[in-house]
């Protein structure tokens, strides 16, 4: 399999706080990789750097062997190919669900309103939200909002999708419906990077799991290996705490 994304010695600081320290990774096309680690370990920052929402200080990121972090590269066409879904949904509250999804299709990809609308309704039907197309985000449950946010990101047909703790802001009974959508995405050819605290889900869905500690890759391996036989002491400790907190089932 070819490499979809390559991170080479990526570093990022906020002021004097170095959040990412020399992170290097290769991710294959169609792979599902989960980033786990304590709060503040740099998961969100890593995903935002890949989406070019943050500028990295050192190192490089390559998409299909083309460096996207080079100075002067236009970020907009790259961002179309790398979607991101946020923990807090970030839907546009002044737009209907339909408009949330069609905005980038018409403005960025130049599709007609009709084409865009039919893409929106196909995606919403797929996620069981076809009756919500003309609703406004505030009238939807958290789970519904997050599924709309996923639909919005998928509408651009991205090659890579970054999911940043997409179930953390949800009530437990709504987590399942969002995770079902992610399960459905696996195997569709899209490359998935997820930051998550849902260890059971990470174990189930991931090809590989990356354990981040203090902005470095402490351990990287298959889901099976990381969860059953972690070698790094920090990984062991972290999983121990997670298990005693009851967040790793199955």
């Amino acid at each position: 399999m070819s490499n979809k994304l390559i991170l080479n010695g990526v570093s990022k600081s906020f002021g004097t706080n170095q959040v990412l320290k020399d992170v290097s990774l290769s991710i294959s096309a169609g792979e599902v990789i989960s980033f786990i680690g304590a709060s503040g370990s740099g998961k969100t920052t890593l995903l935002r750097c890949i989406n070019l929402l943050e500028q990295i200080d050192n190192g490089s990121i390559h998409l299909d062997d083309v460096e996207i972090t080079k100075l002067g590269v236009d970020a907009n066409p790259i961002r179309r190919r790398i979607g991101i879904v946020f923990q807090s949904f970030n839907l546009f509250p002044h737009m209907s669900v339909r408009k949330n999804i069609t905005l980038a299709l018409t403005e960025v990809l130049g599709k007609t309103a009709d084409e865009a609308s039919s893409i929106a309704s196909t995606l919403l039907t797929r996620f069981g939200l076809s009756d919500k197309i003309d609703s406004y985000p505030d009238r939807l449950s958290g789970g519904q909002q997050q599924r709309v946010a996923i639909a919005r990101a998928l509408a651009l047909n991205p090659e890579v999708l970054l999911l940043d703790e997409i179930t953390s802001a949800l009530d437990p009974e709504l987590v399942g419906e969002v995770l079902d959508v992610v399960r459905e995405l696996k195997g569709s050819g899209i490359t998935l990077l997820l930051a998550t605290h849902e260890m059971g889900f990470a174990k189930e869905i991931s090809d590989r799991v990356c354990f981040l500690a203090d902005g470095t890759v402490a351990e990287l391996g298959s889901a099976e290996q990381i969860f059953t036989a972690p070698t790094d002491a920090r990984t062991q400790q972290f999983l121990q705490r997670v298990i005693s907190a009851g967040r790793l089932r199955g």
Binding site: P77, R79, R80, S88, F92, L103, Y136, L156
Partner: protein, 245 residues
């Protein structure tokens, strides 16, 4: 007040010189005719103010380092415009610019008085828009940019619509004061309602025309304020979550 005022010793005289029904009906037609000019000034300054103010607010909110000089310029503009009383700008621009000897109609104090009014108000209104733009959470910008929208598309489709909705009440406040400050243009010549009331006052030796003018202003500004409230409530009902009891 309602109870005490009529019991004051000189109430009868005040009543006669401020609340004389015949004088009111005599001057009302003049006042209404003069008020048309107020409405005209209001009507042509408002769109100009809104457009200039949005442009200033966008210029101030831009993060493009190349536009740094523009930002400095608009900051200076808003500071200077807001730092001097409106009436002074009306005198300076309204008398000053026609004084440089332009041909008709460009030497009219009416035009330059309105321009001065528009310039000062655009600076105030720009601050309102800027507060609105800054109140839109950074995560909205992140969401828009992550979809590949450029920064100007993000401003136009995501930031501005939310910002404008939020600033409608303070904006309407400014519009209501503009509606009233239009009368200041009369101080450099044009006969609008306030000046007409002054003329009628002198003619009748009675202050009632000013009461007439006040009533006419209220007839415009109160419905304007109520209408804004209605629009806001409707917008909130359409997009908002259900109300908490």
């Amino acid at each position: 007040m309602v109870f005490l005022v009529p019991r004051m010793p000189r109430w009868d005289r005040v009543k006669k010189s401020f609340f004389d029904w015949d004088r009111l009906t005599d001057s009302f037609p003049h006042l209404l005719r003069a008020f048309v000019l107020d409405i005209k000034i209001f009507a042509w300054t408002t769109p100009a103010i809104l457009i200039v103010a949005i442009l200033i607010a966008i210029a101030r909110s831009t993060r493009n380092p190349a536009l740094f000089p523009v930002r400095i310029f608009v900051i200076a503009y808003t500071d200077i415009m807001r730092g001097v009383p409106v009436i002074l700008w009306i005198y300076l621009v309204g008398f000053g610019v026609p004084g440089i000897g332009m041909d008709r109609p460009w030497n009219s104090p009416l035009i330059w008085g309105s321009v001065a009014l528009g310039m000062t108000y655009s600076a105030y209104v720009a601050e309102v828009f800027r507060a609105g733009i800054e109140s839109v959470h950074e995560s909205q910008r992140a969401a828009a940019r992550s979809l590949g929208l450029s920064s100007s598309q993000t401003m136009r489709h995501v930031i501005l619509p939310q910002a404008i909705r939020r600033v409608v009440p303070p904006l309407m406040n400014d519009m209501v004061s503009l509606q009233k400050d239009v009368a200041l243009v009369s101080l450099i010549g044009p006969i609008e309602i306030l000046r007409q009331a002054g003329i009628d006052k002198a003619k009748f030796a009675n202050f009632t025309p000013f009461i007439g003018a006040a009533l006419i202003f209220l007839a415009i500004t109160i419905p304007l304020t109520r209408f804004t409230d209605y629009l806001l409530t409707r917008e909130r009902d359409r997009t908002g979550a259900s109300k908490v009891r």
